[in-house]
Amino acid sequence: MTVPVDVTMRPKQKAGIESTRARTAVWLLAPTLIVLALVAGYPLFRTFYLAFTDATFENPGKFVGFDNFLFKADDGTWVGLLTDPAWWESVVNTVRFTIGSVLFETLLGLAFALVINSKIRGKGLLRTAILVPWAIPTVVSAQMWNWMYQDNLGILSQWGQSLGWLKVGQSFLSNPNTSLWALVAVDIWKTTPFMALLLLAGLQSIPSDMYEAAEVDGASKVRQFFRLTLPLLSPALLVALIFRTLDALRVFDMPYVVKGYAPDTLTMSMFARQQLIDNQSLGAGSAVSLLVFLIIMLFTVIYVTTLRVRFD
């Protein structure tokens, strides 16, 4: 889309101007790069360094190699983060949370997007309405749902109890079998609009004459959806999936506000913060942070390479 600025210049002038412009670009970028190095690069480097120390809040600590992750204790047993069942439980919780919420958000978001993209009246109202959950701060939406999930006074517990899904006085949150899914429901409500807006933009970029051609050829609506809409939507769908997966994998605020550090809904980020701040062990906590970082990077690399996503 972008045409090079200097197409009209003669070749000799062009080289000089190009290098001057490159130098200008460096100056324009310098402040941003310095700030990013300070607020992102350095703290990340510090976290990685701390992960290999036994630092605490009071004690700068010393280098301990991989001991935070795994080491053989004097009695011959293996200890460390990688043998900690609480860590693995948080990994399982996070993965289940991510799969559940991203899957349903995608399906629901696609449904919302298709409805809004149809030619029926009232779609403008709908598009405005779905912005409401998106605009509500995460912590606020967590508290709103927390209230609806209260054991006795919560409307959702009431519905669950009258439908016989829950015992009297029980809620979806207090039941450890459903608590994680109760949180997934909050996340779906909050983030489906984002998904729907991204997919809607994708749908609107599909040229309408394609559908006209399909009509002329007599393709049914269902066939049009699977043969035309879905393939043409897949780039937008993939990018939305990646963003949402990465977001869900690092989830912290909503489960923390609703359930605190309860083990049945403890996510990886919550486990890391618990070690880091609440237990005041900077070294061990940073080791968890490092693992979370690596897991998320792994997901990103898998996504970007296997799906061959192109951002430009």
């Binding site: 402040p31 990340l44 510090r46 009509e215």
Partner: protein, 304 residues
């Protein structure tokens, strides 16, 4: 009549366009389809809006009556007492001020940085540009938890723990990449003639940026700034970790750990009141800038 039908229901009924005979059957089907469709829209609207309605209803219920009236669909008596208590019982006004200052400060600095670098990334050609774009994208999807330990020690050693400046510094980790990324996609679309004309007239790059491009970029700056503001306003993990008292504590932390003015009342009436207070301005902003927000969101994510 017939042309109208084909126009308004084109998506729903394909056959109507090409075939004439079965039209009557189709229009009956269409009516059913339209009704079902409206039901679907009603269900979606209910799903999307109900939790917010419920919060408003609860916030207007006197907190003493909450035990009896919590499950009723309409408030039996309304009161603004919960809203008064939110501000009386705890330093909620101070929390609001903290959020406002931190979010505005972060956004202003980020937009300034983004204006400079998006000009370079959107209009200049130089080596490593793609690598740089990917790095910036990488930082923006970076899990906040990955820098928590390092950020904590950095902020403490700079003496910025529990201050506005400490929060602003830490928030820039997500606002700077985000604003740069979105602004770059906007700047790329500005016609090159504008910049060329300024260059031909002998303007320096900074003059070109601030005198010629910035006026064109203003709508994009507003959109990006608004989205960045919302991100900062909603941030929880850093605010929770890098503050220890109400002198810097922001609204989400306050709402997340709300205990109410007295232990004898159910704090949820007040929590919902506080929730409504911080949400209404956001919803109003979002409704006013609806179109721009949607385009900004999709520019940030889809178009890249």
């Amino acid at each position: 009549m017939t042309t109208n039908t084909t126009n308004t229901t084109g998506m729903n009924n394909a056959a109507a366009i090409s075939q004439t005979p079965p039209r009557r059957k189709n229009s009956a089907l269409q009516t059913v389809g339209t009704v079902l469709f409206w039901c679907l829209i009603a269900v979606i609207l209910f799903y999307v809006l109900f939790p917010f309605y419920w919060a408003i209803k609860t916030s207007l219920t006197p907190s003493g009556d909450l035990a009896q009236n919590a499950l009723k669909w309409w408030p039996s008596s309304t009161t603004f007492d919960n809203y008064v208590q939110v501000f009386k019982g705890q330093p909620f006004a101070r929390n609001l001020l903290n959020s406002l200052v931190v979010a505005s400060g972060t956004v202003i600095i980020s937009l300034l940085l983004a204006a400079l670098s998006s000009y370079a990334l959107g209009k200049f050609r130089f080596r490593f540009k793609t690598a740089l774009m990917y790095t910036i994208l990488g930082v923006s999807v970076f899990p906040q938890i990955a820098v928590l330990g390092g950020m904590f020690t950095t902020i403490r050693s700079l003496g910025l723990y529990n201050t506005w400046a400490g929060l602003m510094l830490s928030y820039m980790i997500f606002t700077v990449p985000f604003t740069v990324w979105v602004m770059t996609s906007f700047v790329r679309d500005i016609p090159n003639e504008l910049e060329e004309a300024a260059l031909v007239d002998g303007a320096s790059p900074l003059q070109t940026l601030f005198r010629v491009l910035l006026p064109v970029m203003t709508p994009a700056l507003i959109t990006t700034g608004l989205l960045g503001f919302i991100n900062c306003w909603n941030e929880y993990l850093f605010a929770l970790t890098f503050t220890s008292s109400d002198s810097a504590r922001t609204v989400p932390v306050s709402i997340g750990s709300f205990s109410g003015a007295s232990i004898y009342e159910n704090p949820f009436a007040q929590i919902m009141a506080a929730s409504v207070v911080v949400t209404i301005p956001l919803i109003v902003l979002v409704l006013i800038f609806q179109k721009r927000i949607v385009s900004g969101l999709t520019a940030g994510a889809v178009k890249g």
